[in-house]
Amino acid sequence: MMTSTSLVYLIALPLAGSAILLLAGRRSDKWGHLLATALSASSFFVGLYQLSLMVGRTNSDRPVTQKLFEWISVGTFKIDASLMLDQLSICFVLLITGVGTLIHIYSISYMSHDPDRRRFFAFLNLFIAAMLLLVLGDSYLNLYVGWEGVGLASYLLIGFWNQKPAYATASKKAFVMNRIGDMGLSFAIMIAFATMGTVSFSGVKEAAGHTSTAALTGIGIMLLVAATGKSAQFPLQAWLGDAMAGPTPVSALIHAATMVTAGVYLITRSNFIFDAAPTAQLLVVIVGAITLMFGALIGTAKDDIKKALAASTMSQIGYMILGAGLGPVGYAFAIMHLLTHGFFKAGMFLGAGSVMHGMNDEVNMRKYGALRKFMPITFATFGLGYLAILGVPPFAGFYSKDMIIETAFNSGGAKGIILGCVTLLGAGITAFYMTRVMILTFTGKSRWDEEAHPHESPWLMWLPMAILAIGSVTSGYLLSHGDTLVNWLSPLFVNHGERAELLSPVVVSGLALAMVAIGVAIAFVKYSRNEVAAVAPTDVSIFTTIARQDLLQDRFNEAVFMQPGQALTAVLVKTDEAVIDGAVRGVGRIALGSGSALRGIQTGFVRSYAALILIGAVALIAAIWVVTQ
């Protein structure tokens, strides 16, 4: 593999920014945000430069590595800190730094009234650096460092306004649920190390061929657990909605475009494991399918614009996970949807931020309405994102989502039909709740609070939204035209050849568009025709109630994890107090007691200490006598 010396700058630039801003403290208040934005942008340009180099090389020469240093070397246990940039990671690098830079620019204006803006930018840069490390690490262990790093940055940013206890709680919840996922990743690494003796991607790929299916399935399931934690997939999805407590640019960057897609990256990167472990792969598909429905259903009932978008993110990542679980044919489409989603969802989140900016930080859509006239740019950019997520041709989602639906249908047998129907139904529900968001926010009559004075956001805010909107329009076509992305990524995946087609692309597109049309129509009938109540009605069906409570995910967590956990903890604490503490105290007491008998610790007589030494000496000699007899 070719080596490069400039990969490290990708990470070092934002990392330096974060360090400078945190260490310089208040002194950098004036220019900190500009520095952070500039460094993020430079990292993006380094990424572009790498891409230009990579395009110029032949397929097999494209991956490059850079060994940074020998990290740990104790006996036979050697780990290098190395970076690797290949066709897959360059996609992420450009997404992270590109969308990241736009969101930096947006935040300059969005956070301008916050006294802690500098700290915010320091954390944003920290996040960029950690996320880049995650996708550039050449081994599971290096990935793990980045994985924990983004977890930390996410925790810091969700709780950025931690003066509000609810926000601090939200960040803690995200942190704890992520720990469960992280535990999965560490187990996966341990199993890999125990069975294969290596944790580097290339080493594991090679060793996967002659490792038992049981071990591979174990690794695969643990990787899936990791992915469900970081990517808010069933059953670890509950934190994402609460994570919306963070400033909106954070939601756009971390909880829509980049960090939450790390699970998709992990599964795609570990394709050699999942391809050899069908059980684990099937579980991936199931998790993806459940989550895409789950998120979509929650999305239908949310009145909080950010939570509705968060539910949608969960659902869309479900599509990606499902795609990645479909094996070699699906990986590229999962990544494609990930990239297009990065554009349109980040754009919509920024749009939501722009709306909130104009509406006194109001997030309840029932108190919006008729904003189209007051925020034309936001409406236009949000609208383009809306068309993209619906999958209306020729917008981005049309290409990426339809590919996943089509692959699902064609994955064979009853599984194919079930998955196909789920993805199709999901598309319909997506159309419903996104139309609902559009209608409630931008059309109809105004239901504002009295002090609201909606206005368009400054150019620093709408410019990134506009750029992302362009991406929402064009990225799908650009990535899929002539199978650009599929061919680009194909060297990384084992090709199993073509599968029989159950449904042709045209039929799938037709079905999907029909579902979308139905969803849009229902939403129109329900929300555009009728008056929307400014206060959420309470006399609703049981289904709405359940959906409003996030399909009881918190109750589920409480019943399944928390209460047994608490009971277990209580038992453990009792055991700890009675048995372990008792034993420990007992031993301590015996030690102290026997000590005091021998050496009179209270009086501290030297003669007792000397006696102890003497006894030790005698015991030593006696032992020697015994040993040598």
Binding site: F69, E70, W71, I72, S73, V74, G75, F77, V584, R585, V587, G588, R589, A591, L592, G595, R599, G604, V606, S608, Y609, A610, L612, I613, I615, G616, A617, A619, L620, I621, A623, I624, V627, T628
Partner: protein
Amino acid sequence: MTFTAPVLNYTLLSPILILLGGALIGVLVEAFVSKALRSIVQLSLTVGTLVLSLAQVWRIHNETSMSAAMGSVIIDGPAILLQASILIISIISIFLFADTDHFTALAAALPGSEEERHSLETGNQVTEVYPLTLFAISGMMLFPIASDLITLFVALEMLSLPLYLMAGLSRRRRLASQEAALKYFLLGAFSSAFFLFGMAYLYGYSASITYAGIRESVVGGSGNDVLLLIGIAFLSIGLLFKVGAVPFHAWSPDVYQGAPTPITGFMAAATKVAAFGAMLRIYYTVFANAQWSWTPLLSVIAIITMLFGSLVAIAQRDVKRMLAYSSIAHAGFLLAGVIALNKAGLEASIFYLFAYGVATVGAFAVVTLVRDSSGEVTDLNRWKGLGKRSPWVAATFAGFLLAFAGIPLTSGFIGKFSIFSAAYESGAKGVVFAGVLSSAIAAFFYIRVIVLMFFTDATQDGTSVQLPSALTRATLVISIAITIALGVYPAPLLNVISNLSTFIR
């Protein structure tokens, strides 16, 4: 009888000679420099001497020699590493001495006497502590490079005698401090007697007092094994006493608690390096071929030491006593490195000694900062809520505790990991098992202190953290930086140690 003048290689001996020279000048400073200037002059002189000595160690770091002092000392890679560790640890701990609030005004005065009150009022300071420290350090530097038993014994006394005195210099709780000094002295003398006795047996066994001579007899296996075994056992007692291994540890909690905290930190860190350095050399070279006889004994002592130290530490309510017991447990972990008797074990032990020493100095530096109106507060109950009042100081202390507990990303993890894997490689599975078990127990009480500092509400009794002086801050910053750097990126130091860690015989 003709007397041949000794041939000395002054370059190779210069690190020790510089220290002795500095100490002698220090004595003169005591006599001739005015009281007002003495403190600052002594501090600069001591730091200067240490830095010069360290520079000299650096200059000779590639040298090896058996004949630097007529066969009495050996200069080789481990010697250089241990000497450098001792000097670095000494430099960072000497900064803590600058705060005169730790030391009594007049060490010779009876506690509570008129004389003592008078000297307190006139602002006397015990600046003698600096030359004493230099003397002790020169003994520590000689201890691990000695290559005959007489030099070894001289070095032992050279490092011990100043420490006995220094333990008695505490400004507060004079009686406890003097008691600690006396206990340390008496028990030290007692263990020295064992040590000498062991030397006599070894001489009886091999008719030689040099390492090479004894080694030859051990390899040849012609002598009387009983003499050898008793010799090893008694010599070990002297060494185990210095490192505080059970059952020869009894002095350490009392002395750690009674001595002035900067002295405790210095003593706990530097003495361990010196004593384990000597021990490694003796067991790895002189007694290596009699492994069958001492490995089982040291294994049992190591296991008892680890478990005892960790268990009893749980019951402690005083931070200095807790650190004392933790240091006993660490002596047990380090014994695992001696037992390993392979190159990995040597490397791991040297790394561990340095990492542990630095963290120990740092931890005691934090202890010096937590005070109320009557001096340091070492009662753990009054450390409650420290994290809220002084987050930086508490976080630093937490860092050292995590290092002691061996949590990843601290130097302690790398140290424990490498020392246990070396011991495991050599087949000492029981020791490793006990080591991991007691690490788990130990983690409990380290983390309990962290919980106490950060998650418990403070009691209202006016414990406060003194703002660290520039020098104390330097100690804290350097030691926490090293502790974390060695945890995150230990490879360079491990490489250096690996390249240098070969005993010459």
